[in-house]
């Protein structure tokens, strides 16, 4: 009852591709848990292995429903206690059902269900993405679906006992139509999406999700907001450094997202200035004219709910494809609206110690105000900083003050700044930052609290920095010597810190793939196209200089170009031909179940007959077709008769032919096939043509 019916290889491979594609979509566009994907991939591999091995499925079939139940439980648990993300939970459940279907298919009905589920997944994933990737995946998906559907149709017909192949379309034509339809669909949708604003499906989906608000980027920052964030391993940003200053260490860079300059009621607040759009020229946003940038960073921000833009050090310009950037003049950069999809922009920034030249704007009055009612802190500040020395030296002393007697803890922090400074002396980065900033102000040095991320994990595979939510940090910027200097009193986390993420090499590769995807598919821009072309031309030129073949110089540029085009065309043609051949072979040509595979020469003859359209319907035997083919070539009829005798004996006789007879049959098949290919399609004699013209 659960015995698996004989299923065409192609069908199940096609379905598997279908399924894997849906899986990839899920992996890329939704945040399904990793282990769920791993489980699903294992199920996939299991399906493949079981398909290869002649395993009995009766006992395993019983596993079917428990597995569904298991996945259902996983999905519910994930929804309630895990990610809390409806989409990923549903995806999990679907994956479970799919895996069962794939492991224990009972016929074409399972295939159809698999297709339907994959389509649902695709829609769910497509809703969360944007234009170009949507178009690309639409193309891939529909090509795969069409193949699967065709195979399923044939399979269903086979199961129902109907003659298969209701619509007999030559494989080549079908492939060509599919390819053209897919490419045309891709181009049309790409153009459509490019000229219309992005479809904001994501907005709709976000409603189902729990708020993604990243801690510390609201208008206030209190002492209780970092702890939750430190446990979160979600990636916030990926940063590349195309042109770094020599000696730049990405792991020590402070990625700033917000700056707070007012201290009120135990919490730091942003300065009240109204954010104004920064000046821009084309894609360039001039953030800070006074800075002297020496490094470049390409920042890819993951989708977020808050409007903050992240920058390093002193950022001179931001190069981006999106609209206006608002600045409140105090270091806070943001988008006009809260919430954004994946963003990519390039910043030019000055490193940690830019030289101060000329007169620059002052620190801003708000950054020097010492909050009223904290006189003991001011006393402490004066005591710690001392009266002599420059601002820098005094700030140094204050920072050093935190180096002894203070304890970094996430589990048992002081409830307030006063507690932290005077009694408990235990806290985390926000305590340190708030305390340091207050002390600096108490000592008369203007300062402000900055929040963002410190460093991140360096991905050696793709040479970029992975910044995670667990890298969230708060620090202090002090106005010393006419510029903002980053000061951090928080002790650096030890290597054994649980908040330092170490990803395995496979994880690094996976992340790198995702980064490439974000970079080249989701956020591909004109500028990157230009960069790519420039880079490509440069590489080719360099390669050309490196390899000089003797005699190469003699061939002109046009000749070289023609050779390249010819080579490419030939390669493409070969691949296409192989594809067609493979397809035709995989169709099996009637696939009798006990006969060995049709030997090559026979198969070639069949193909040649088919190509010359001698086969009028799928029910024709080779004998009929061959006789029809040699009707216009009487000289071949003797060969044909002899060949048919040998062929029939070989394929249907009591025993296969002896080798020399077989050789002869092959030779005859070859000769016949070649002669038939050379023969023009049989034309009716002249008088018959006249007959149809003049009835």
């Amino acid at each position: 009852m659960t015995r698996r019916p004989p299923v065409r290889e192609f069908l199940w491979w096609s379905l598997r591709a279908h399924w894997a594609l849906a899986l990839a979509l899920l992996a890329i566009f939704t945040d399904a848990a990793r282990w769920a994907l791993v489980l699903a991939i294992c199920a996939w591999a299991g399906g493949v292995v079981m398909d290869r091995a002649p395993t009995r499925r009766t006992s395993l079939a019983r596993l079917g429903s428990p597995v569904v139940a298991l996945f259902f439980a996983f999905a519910m648990a994930d929804l309630l206690f895990g990610s809390g993300d409806l989409l990923s939970s549903v995806a999990l459940l679907l994956l479970g059902v799919q895996s069962v279907k794939l492991l224990l298919p009972k016929g074409s009905r399972d295939g159809w269900q698999l297709c339907a589920i994959a389509l649902l997944e695709f829609l769910a994933a497509a809703a969360g993405t944007d234009a170009l990737s949507f178009a690309l995946f639409a193309f891939l998906f529909f090509v795969a679906s069409a193949g699967a559907m065709g195979a399923l149709h044939a399979q269903e017909a086979e199961e129902a006992g109907r003659p298969a192949g209701g619509y007999a379309v030559p494989a080549g034509t079908a492939a060509a139509v599919l390819l053209f339809a897919g490419i045309a669909g891709f181009l049309v949708s790409a153009v459509l999406f490019a000229v219309t604003p992005r479809l904001e499906f994501r907005r709709v989906l976000e409603r189902f999700r729990r708020a993604q608000g990243v801690v510390g980027f609201s208008d206030t920052i209190s002492l209780r907001e970092v702890t939750g964030g430190k446990m979160d391993r979600r990636v916030v940003a990926r940063v590349e450094f195309p042109e770094p200053r020599p000696g730049l260490s990405p792991a020590n860079l402070y990625l700033r997202g917000a700056v707070y300059s007012r201290y009120e009621d135990g919490a730091w607040r942003r300065g009240g200035a109204t954010p104004l759009p920064v000046a821009r020229a084309g894609f360039q946003h001039m953030v800070e004219e006074a800075a002297f940038p020496d490094s470049t960073a390409d920042i890819t921000l993951e989708p977020a709910d808050h409007p903050a833009l992240f920058t390093y050090g002193q950022t001179a310009t931001i190069e981006s494809g999106f609209g206006p950037i608002l600045s409140d003049g105090n270091g806070n950069l943001s988008l006009p609206h809260a919430g954004h999809p994946t963003l990519r922009y390039r910043i030019r920034f000055a490193g940690v110690h830019p030289p101060a030249k000329g007169t620059v704007r002052g620190p801003g009055a708000g950054n020097a105000v010492f909050p009223a009612g904290h006189e003991e802190i001011r006393d402490l500040a004066v005591k710690v900083a001392g009266a002599d020395g420059s601002d820098g030296e005094r700030a140094e002393r204050i920072v050093r003050f935190f180096g002894s007697g203070f304890r970094y803890t996430l589990s048992d922090p002081a409830p307030s700044i006063r507690e932290f400074l005077f009694r408990k002396r235990a806290g985390y980065c926000e305590h340190y930052a708030a305390g340091l900033s207050l002390l600096l102000r108490g000592a008369g040095i203007p300062s402000r609290v900055a929040a963002g991320y410190l460093g991140g994990e360096w991905n050696e595979v793709g040479k970029y920095l992975i910044v995670r939510q667990s890298d969230a940090h708060a620090w202090v910027e002090a106005w010393i010597g006419g510029r903002w200097v980053t000061l951090d009193a928080t002790p650096p986390p030890a290597d054994s810190s649980p908040f330092r993420t170490r990803t395995g090499i496979l994880g690094l590769y996976a992340d790198w793939l995702r980064h490439r995807w974000d970079k080249y598919v989701v956020n591909y821009s004109m500028r990157m196209q230009a960069d790519a072309v420039k880079g490509g031309v440069r590489t080719v030129r360099r390669a050309g200089e490196a390899f000089r073949f003797p005699g190469w110089e003699g061939i002109g540029g046009a000749g070289r170009g023609a050779a390249a085009v010819l080579f490419l065309a030939a390669t493409g043609f070969c691949m296409f031909y192989r594809f067609l051949r493979k397809r035709r072979e995989s169709r099996g040509e009637g696939s009798p179940f006990d006969l060995p595979k049709l030997p090559g020469p026979y198969a070639r003859l069949v193909r040649r007959l088919d190509r010359n359209r001698f086969r009028r319907n799928p029910g024709e035997t080779l004998q009929d077709t061959l006789i029809a083919a040699v009707r216009s070539r009487p000289d071949l009829s003797e060969d044909a008769a002899r060949f048919l005798r040998l062929y029939h004996r070989d394929r249907f006789g009591p025993a296969p032919l002896a080798s020399e007879s077989r050789e002869e049959a092959f030779r005859l098949a070859d000769r016949l096939g070649r002669s038939i290919s050379d023969t023009p399609r049989h034309q009716p004699p002249m008088d018959q043509q006249w007959g149809t013209l003049f009835p």
Partner: protein, 312 residues
């Protein structure tokens, strides 16, 4: 004649029959194939196309006994099977065999008789035995029924029921001869010409040997699969009320084997199956609705054959 192999005997038999029935080579081949495969033959066509001639030629080709039963509306079963009569000398009833006890029985115009007489043929055809008054008598071996019917004269006929049709292995339609054959027929014959007198080429035991030979013809699994696919395709065809029976599929295999033997081969090719499919399955496929004619069944079969891919 003794030294000849069964195959040679068969070809001379075939040649003999061919001389009687001009231009009907395919029909003759199929009839002989069914004959040596052990299947009964139903000949169907308008009068005067040679149905009886073929039947007589087939029967006289073997040196066994031949009987002819003309079916009429008042024919009774005992007229066919035989009766027990009182033997005055031995003071007991002895069986007096009817015309069915022969190697070849020609049942002429079978649809003219009433269902009782028709069903009397039923047991004989499939069981190869006859039961009269609770006593069973085996029929001679080989035993072959060749029935003829005229499908166009429906007045006063009893069409054969499906069950009885299924017992015929083959239904042949002898259409009009082609122009050349007909010219020759007209030229050479008058109303008194009898063309039955062909020399007997086969003895009953040789027919039995031939049947064993037919059984030995190889049918690969792929061909069996092809036969099965054809049979099941007739059952699922949308225009069919009742498709081919498993008996039909068995008959198709046997006839294909015999055709292969006729061609001097020891293996069945898909071509043999295609050749035999229409005559063997045509009368076992019953189309839906009004299109109950044999033309409709034939069209359905041809559609099935053109759609079911043969093994290559």
């Amino acid at each position: 004649m003794e030294g000849k192999s069964p195959i040679d005997l068969l070809s001379s038999f075939r040649a003999n029959v061919g001389t009687v029935l001009l231009g009907k080579r395919e029909a003759v081949d199929l009839a002989i194939a069914s004959f040596i495969a052990g299947g009964h033959v139903l000949l169907e066509d308008v009068p005067g196309t040679g149905k009886t001639t073929l039947a007589r030629a087939l029967s006289s080709g073997i040196s066994g006994t031949f009987r002819r039963i003309q079916f009429t509306s008042d024919l009774l079963p005992q007229d066919i099977l035989g009766v027990h009569v009182l033997d005055a000398d031995r003071r007991s009833f002895v069986f007096s065999p009817g015309p069915l006890f022969a190697n070849v029985v020609l049942a002429d115009e079978i649809n003219r008789s009433n269902p009782r007489a028709q069903s009397a043929l039923l047991e004989a055809m499939s069981e190869r035995q006859v039961t009269v008054d609770n006593r069973t008598y085996p029929l001679p071996e080989p035993f072959l029924v060749i029935a003829t019917q005229n499908p166009y004269e429906q007045h006063g006929t009893y069409p054969l029921p499906e069950s009885q049709l299924d017992r015929f292995n083959l239904r042949l339609r002898l259409s009009y001869p082609d122009r050349d054959s007909e010219l020759r027929l007209i030229r050479e014959n008058n109303l008194l010409t009898m063309r039955d007198g062909i020399p007997a080429a086969l003895r009953p035991e040789q027919v039995r040997a031939l049947r064993e030979e037919v059984d030995r013809v190889t049918v690969r699994d792929a061909v069996v699969d092809y036969i099965q696919r054809i049979a099941s395709a007739t059952r699922t065809h949308p225009a069919v009320r009742l498709g081919a029976s498993p008996r039909g599929a068995i008959g198709l295999k046997g006839t294909s084997q015999a055709l292969a033997l006729l061609d001097g081969r020891d293996h069945v090719t898909p071509g043999d199956v295609r050749r035999a499919a229409v005559p063997v399955l045509c009368h076992r496929v019953f189309p839906k609705g009004d299109a109950a004619g044999s033309e409709a069944a034939q069209a359905i079969l041809e559609e099935v054959l053109s759609a079911v891919p043969p093994p290559l």
